[in-house]
Structures are given as structure tokens and as C-alpha cells.
Subunit: 360 residues, 2 copies
């Protein structure tokens, strides 16, 4: 299997917000080329579950998770920009996380991995940027958790970023989103196969991960999309003799998505990244949201949200845009009418393509 | 323990939408007195989990689940009205359901209970009405699942109802609500203690019920209420050394509600009633929602919804009110600005009291 990943090792003790680890590896992919002035780089942070494979490349021609957005003549035009996407610290697609070996023991970290903060993910991303000889990014970009990480990055490294593009993200998690993610984590933790984090990697807590994924899908989309898409359609493949089985199309859809997710993501990594989203609060960077946002010194920012997103609702995008206006001369705020909820940036290309193109 | 419940037995074979049972018992409570013309009766159907104990009475002075609404000088004024609240067929507070003994075997029905429809619940309620010598109800009333049952009742027994009051309900379930309830059921069914419905009653599937209750609480309230109420407050009683434990106040709140629910409701009954909500569709009464609603021939109706309710959203209340206008001369539609979401009718008395008073 071809692989477009590159890796750096951050040598020595890597200080985190809540501990430290030794010499983590960070995986990343790149598209396009850095220009002579090294001022055309775009750093992309991902949501909770994607890898660094945001788009296809000669080294890995398989479609990436943002294939429609990144490439020649696409909104993030790789004939003009050098795009870098990092696999988050704490994830399991090449970067060090709870599933990776702890050099001190030779065994996987599992729950010995320090509590993860998105600031740690940002620091690890910056190590990649430095390794590539980039002094100042054209922009840092992220959606969902990636938007929080991008915001942390811009607050921590104001001298290294020109622009910020935040999509369907927030200055911090509200209790409704925390409650949903807390329950997702509980579903995984209460699967007996989780074994307090000590499951064999070939016997993961499949049941809890499937349940968490179903709850995730419910929060990533919107009621109006599903009303249009499924209505009250019955699933004809269900067995009517199984009590409380799959009767409706929407139930079959959730089942299919849960099945697809299984085996692709490490359960402990999921728990760490999910918790990192709850813990993130830009107010930690200045005592309040307003003061935290003042740390951001980009020249321009764009904040995009979606009307049907109830996980990262529009009022959180407005709060972010308004806060950024304290210090950022050029802030664009876009409220898109996509009906696919939080996931719109992955599917509603008709609305997102022009929005991103206008930023780039 | 004092008990205000009364019971009827519906003698003989009780035909249901998807089967039949023998001589079910239906529990109910009443407040006030039937007048000489027998035209002051109000029939109240409940949501999924309440019992018939909607308000205190001399026989049972404990507070009921709608204590603020039912009583002398309250919006449903028991010095004027004779109020009857039935425990739903399929529930476990005195009425026959999956936890009750099957006369054919002497053992509890469990999953041998026929698939439940809200029409069955309405039929059982009508048997209570008949037993009390009531020919025509002043009104049939219900919130949430109870609103669906009240609507079914009005469609099935047009000659027996003068008024309909539907609160935070719908003509049918949309796929978003179905998905949430489907996942709740899955959490119960996948608890090994459920044992395919054959758990010992003193060893119920507590884990699955707790998880389902937490998901329920998330869907019954609203993000804005929780943002105001909890913000990002930390829970100081949590153990910081427990990974992914209770850090935030909102997590402690869910935990407390889940604990309170345990032991109060039979798991199989929960599954049956939950599924009955998914299956309900007024279109079954006429081929389409519009035709189904034409069966309702009350003189007046009131439809109340809440802006922050995303389980039974406001557009479903509008659809119901607009549909009723085909045949009902006097239809009132009220959109309340309560922030407590679907549960508002249980907690936001300042908004609901005057709304109900205007109907009664």
C-alpha cells in the first residue's frame, strides 16, 4: 500500500499541559511546494477522527477526507500553496498517542499517556512547521476540533501566522457538547472489552465504539437533513421477528456507519481526543474568552459556521468572529445554510467551495 | 404507602394493532368530580415514563408529576373538571405491560407482549372513560408521547371528544427522534444483563438503563439552558485521578439523573413504549397526515410547542395545528420561548400555566 506520510521525531522531553512524554513522532502529509520566500504554507489541523491524508497525492492516490478542497485548481490550490496536514498528537495514524509504545516501558502508553490538551496538538504541529523551514504560515486552518487547535496555534504562535480559517468550531466547548461526548466516552469505558484501557489491540471494545459512533453520527448531522433523506422510510432488510431491530432506514444508516468505523480508530485515542475537546477553552490563554482571543495577531481571519450545526452552533462562531475583531483587522464571518449540520464541511461542497475559495 | 390508583380490567380478548392479550388491567387516578351532565371530564395521557399519579389527592398526598397544573384553582381546575389520568397500557405502574403476568402462562409477558401501538394505549384509555360513565370528554390532553396518544384518541373516537390539547408532541416521529430512541433502546438491549428481555426483576439491565437515561436527559433539555445553568463549571467532587471521570458539573448532573431513574422503570416496558413512539403516524388513520388529521372532529384544539425543543421541534407543532384547521373550527397555536427544551412542560410553569389556563 502506498503511503504519503512523512514523519518527524521531536527529540527529547516533550512537555505537555498535563505531563510530558519522550521524543514523540508526528506524522504529516504535504501537497504542493514551498516557494522561495517560504511564505505560501498552509497548516491544516484535523477533526477528531481523520488522519493526515486530507487529499490524494502521487505517493498515495487514494481519496483524502477533504479531497474536494485541496489540489490544483481547488479552493486550497496546491499550485499556489504548500499545504501541510498533521495527524494530531494523541491520534493513531502515525503520530504518538495512547496506542503508541512508551519508550520507558516498551509497551503502549494506554492510560499512562498524559491527559491531552489541544495546545499539545498545536505544539506538535509547530514542530512539523519548523522542521519544514517555515517561519511564517500563510494560514492555519481547521474544522471542528481542528478549528480549536488552529485557534490555539494562532494564540500560542502569533508571530508565526498570517491568517486563520476556523470552520464549525468554537472558543470552547459548551456543556451540551460536553454532555454528548461524555456519554460517548462512557459507552466505550463501560464496554467490558475496554478493560480499563488494557484491551488487546485485536480485541478492542467494539460494542462501545459502535454505540459512540452512532451517537456521534446523530450529533454530526441534522434533523432536517434526515427528514428529507429518510423520512419514515422502512428498511426492508430488517427482520420483523427481531424485537426492536432495524425497522427504519435511519436505523440502517446508523448501523452501516457504526460498522464502517470499527477497526479504524483506537478506543483510547478516541477517549483522549474527545476529552481534549471538552477541556479546550481559549480563556485559558488570557483569563477570559475576550482576553484569550486578543493573543491572536493574524492579519486576517475567516470564521465559517453552519445554521443546522447544533454541536458547534452558530452563536459560537459569532462569538469567535466578534472576539477576533478586537485585534484582527480583517475578519470575515460566514453563516452557511447547509442542512448537513456539523459535518457540512465534509459534504456540502457547493457551499463550502466558494467560501474557502474566497479566503484563499 | 397510600395509593390513589384505581383499576379496571378489560374483560376478554383485547385486540391490539399487532396482536391481542387477555383481560388487561388499566390503572388510573382521578381528581375532582364528574358533574351531573357528565360533561366536565378531562382525560390525560402521559409521556413515556410517568405513572397515573399526575397530582396529589387525599388518597395519595405525594406530589404528582404535573402537580402545578392539576388541582383546585390550578390551570386544570379540579373544582370545575373531573380529571382522569391513565397509566399507559405497556407501562409498569399498575397497567398491564411486558412486566405483567401473561394469564396464559402465569409468567411475565416480557417479549411475548405484542408490539405496542399508541392506538392500543388510546383504546385502553377509552375503556377507562367508558367505565366511568363518560359519554363525551370535555378534552383529551397529553404532552410528548401523551400528545401523540391524545391525538390518536381524538382520531379514533371523534364522537367522544370536545377538545384536544396537544403539548410538545407531533403527528409522527421524524428520523432524528427515531435515531435517538433507537440508540437508547440499543444501549439497553446490549447490556448483557438485559438477557434478551429475560432479566430477573431484581437484576435489571441497570447499566443500559442509566446510559439510555443520560441520552434521554440530553434530548429532553436544551443547549442554551445548560449553557446558562452549568457553563463550564467544574465538579469538585470528581476524582481527578480517574481517567475520563466526572470533571464538569453537567456530567455530575447527568449522573445524578441516571441514578435517580434506576429501579423506577422496567426495561422491557421502556423498550415497548419507546418503540411505540417511533411507530406512531397519524397518516395511518387516513393515508396521509392531512387525511389522518381530518378524522379529528373536536370543536376546539390547542397546540403548544417550545422553541428550544429539538426532539419534538416547533415545525411539527405547526404542522399539527395547520392540519387540525381543516376540520376544527377553533385551533390555537402557541410557541413558547421556554429554554428547557422538550421538558419545559414539566418545569417552566410560568409559561405553561397561563397557556393551559387559557384553554381551560
Amino acid at each position: 500500500m502506498s503511503d504519503g506520510r512523512r514523519y518527524i521525531v521531536i527529540d527529547g522531553r516533550f512537555e505537555m499541559q498535563h505531563g510530558a512524554i519522550e521524543s514523540p513522532t508526528i506524522a504529516f502529509e504535504t501537497w504542493g511546494a514551498l516557494n522561495a520566500n517560504a511564505d505560501n504554507a498552509v497548516l491544516l489541523f484535523t477533526g477528531l477522527s481523520p488522519s493526515a491524508h486530507a487529499a490524494s497525492s502521487p505517493a498515495d492516490p487514494s481519496s483524502g477526507w477533504w479531497e474536494d478542497m485541496i489540489g490544483a485548481d481547488k479552493p486550497i490550490d496546491t499550485s499556489r500553496y504548500f499545504v501541510v496536514c498533521v495527524n494530531s498528537l494523541g491520534s493513531c495514524f502515525g503520530s504518538t498517542g495512547p496506542a503508541a509504545p512508551n519508550p520507558a516501558t516498551g509497551r503502549p502508553y494506554r492510560l499512562d499517556f498524559p491527559i491531552l490538551a489541544l495546545e499539545d496538538v498545536a505544539h506538535a504541529g509547530h514542530a512539523v512547521v519548523e522542521s519544514l523551514g517555515i517561519e511564517r504560515l500563510h494560514a492555519v486552518v481547521g474544522a471542528s476540533m481542528g478549528g480549536m487547535t488552529a485557534l490555539a496555534y494562532a494564540a500560542i504562535y502569533p508571530q508565526h501566522v498570517d491568517g486563520l480559517l476556523s470552520i464549525s468550531s468554537a472558543t470552547r466547548s459548551e456543556p451540551f457538547a460536553i454532555a454528548l461526548r461524555s456519554l460517548q466516552r462512557e459507552l466505550i469505558r463501560q464496554d467490558p472489552a475496554w478493560k480499563n484501557g488494557n484491551y488487546a489491540f485485536d480485541e478492542p471494545p467494539t460494542l462501545g465504539m459502535r454505540q459512540a459512533r452512532k451517537l456521534g453520527m446523530i450529533t454530526y448531522r441534522s434533523a432536517s437533513e434526515w427528514a428529507q433523506r429518510f423520512g419514515r422510510e422502512r428498511n426492508t432488510e430488517g427482520n420483523p421477528h427481531v424485537h426492536f431491530g432495524i425497522d427504519f432506514e435511519v436505523e440502517a444508516y446508523l448501523e452501516a456507519h457504526a460498522n464502517k468505523f470499527i477497526g479504524t480508530f483506537d478506543a483510547n485515542c478516541y477517549l483522549y481526543l474527545s476529552r481534549a475537546m471538552d477541556l479546550f477553552d481559549i480563556a485559558d490563554h488570557g483569563g477570559s474568552v475576550a482576553e484569550g482571543l486578543k493573543r491572536v495577531r493574524v492579519r486576517r481571519a475567516m470564521v465559517i459556521g453552519v445554521e443546522s450545526d447544533f454541536l458547534f452552533p452558530l452563536h459560537q462562531q459569532r462569538e469567535l468572529a466578534d472576539g477576533l475583531r478586537q485585534t484582527v483587522p480583517d475578519v470575515d464571518f460566514g453563516a452557511l445554510a447547509s442542512i448537513q449540520g456539523h459535518d457540512s464541511f465534509l459534504v456540502d461542497m457547493d457551499q463550502f467551495r466558494p467560501a474557502l475559495a474566497s479566503f484563499f
